[in-house]
Amino acid sequence: MTAKSIGARLAWLITAGLFLFFFVLPVIWLLLAPTKSDAEIIRNNPFAFGSLDGVVTAWRNLYAFQDGVIVTWLRNSAVYTGLALLITIATSIPAGYGLALTQFVGRKTLLTVTLLTMIMPNAALVLPLYLEMDALGLDGTIWSVVLPFSFFPFGVYLTYIYFSSTIPQDLLAAARLDGCSEWQVFRSIALPLARPIVALVGFFGFVGNWNNFFLPFVMLPDSAQYPAQVGLNNLLTSSAVFNTSSGVDNAIMRPELALATLVTVVPVLLVFLFSQRALVSGMLAGATK
């Protein structure tokens, strides 16, 4: 090895290592914080482990906040994202199939509008959606969150691409020659092949909706209706860590905030771990939106 190539290697290691620290240390800190008391977080080594009792205490304090509302928030998140996921799958799989393999007037327009809405940032439509829901008297109901969550053009586009490139045309023609109706063709050929795309659409729909803050924040006025993300915001504003001026009657400090953050992101973390191989292969190009 020449001195130059050793230097290049060293530069590679230092850069990759620095970014490794940047990305991973906050996660490790977050995992360790609930094991400690607030005083220990401030005084001790930031990456020291406290004790499992610390986690129990943090959970008790967190659970005491508004009589266990943290559990309600998590349940709300599960209900909203779950219902939305069902509607998303039920609408986007047939739609992607229809766009890919049938012909009708307006198909191209529908495809173009789908692409535009898919690339447009979700947040741009939040206030218009609120104004619409308000005019319809639906704001404050769970449907004001679930229904917009279910509208998922990216899922339709993914399904469209998937069916256009996986279903051989001869297969469809043969099925039709055998007397299958269009519906039977879809049922017996497309649906059995749809499993991977259902997983993919499910992944993006779930992660995007679970982490969505702006829409439910705007739509839902009542703490008992909040999903976990809006609940976290509520915890932050009530905590003495960031809010010393008002009289604080709860024990929400750093360990509790860290624990609340952890339990709200656990479902997404699990989904990430299970999809690890697919994620890093670069297959899931839309994940960033």
Partner: protein, 305 residues
Amino acid sequence: MSQATVPRAAGARRAAARVANPAGRMGYVFVAGYFVLLLAFGVVPTAYALWLSISNSRGQLVGLGQFTRTFADYRFLPAFGHVLMYLVIWLVTLMVLVVLLAIMLHGRMPRTSSALRFVYYLPGALAGVASVLLWLILLDPAASPVGWLLEAFGWDTLAKVIAPDHLPVLFTVIAFWTGAGGWIVIMYGALNNIPHEVIEAARIDGANVLQIALRVQIPMLRKWIAYMLILAFATGTQLFVEPQLVSTASWGMIPDGWSVAQVSYLYAFQAGDFHGAAALAVDLVVVGLACAAVVVFRTGLFEKD
């Protein structure tokens, strides 16, 4: 790459499929459910906001009145400036570092590279409120694991760290932490699409790693870099969660109308002024839609067949 690697033959095959397909009307049945959602939660809210933005509370048309009125609001220009400042810092950081890291991770020790990509990607699970909350704690010198670093800059309290001037940089750090990994993975996938022979040929011609990156890889990534920047720009203009949370934690130091989306929110919820809120929302929709149109019609990244 989900969007880039659509087999070219598929288009021709599909065209044949549709010609051979007699029962065209079934297409409407398949897209019906999605179409209703698209109308109800994509088209109608946009049209309704547009209508509100050019009318007043008595239902009279006022032309661009709501737009000029909200533009003249004392919060509008500062909010616009804040978002612009953030976008400049964010986009430059994103472009330089994502391209650098993707090229670094490409073509080296497959296992290490794959593990690093996953670790870089992982914070994406904490997008939104979780990431802001975590960083607010991490940036408080009292509890921060890098408190020494913050104090080295002379910032010994959270208030000093989240001073108004610092916010664009802080939001860049948070956005990079949660979002860069996803882009690194995408760029990595795009690098995989560059034929091996091209790189090999350059190497035989005596090009070093840097020259290959600058002359071969980056030019071939151009489309994806453009896609990333447009998307990041569009999303960045809608900034809401980060300033909203930082503002609540700032003891009134950061105004609650720091970004354009926040001002629009205040119009709707603090003032009950839906027409003004709609005008500001339309500003943001127009930016988002314009960016989307550029991506769809100009970059050629998406197959519209």
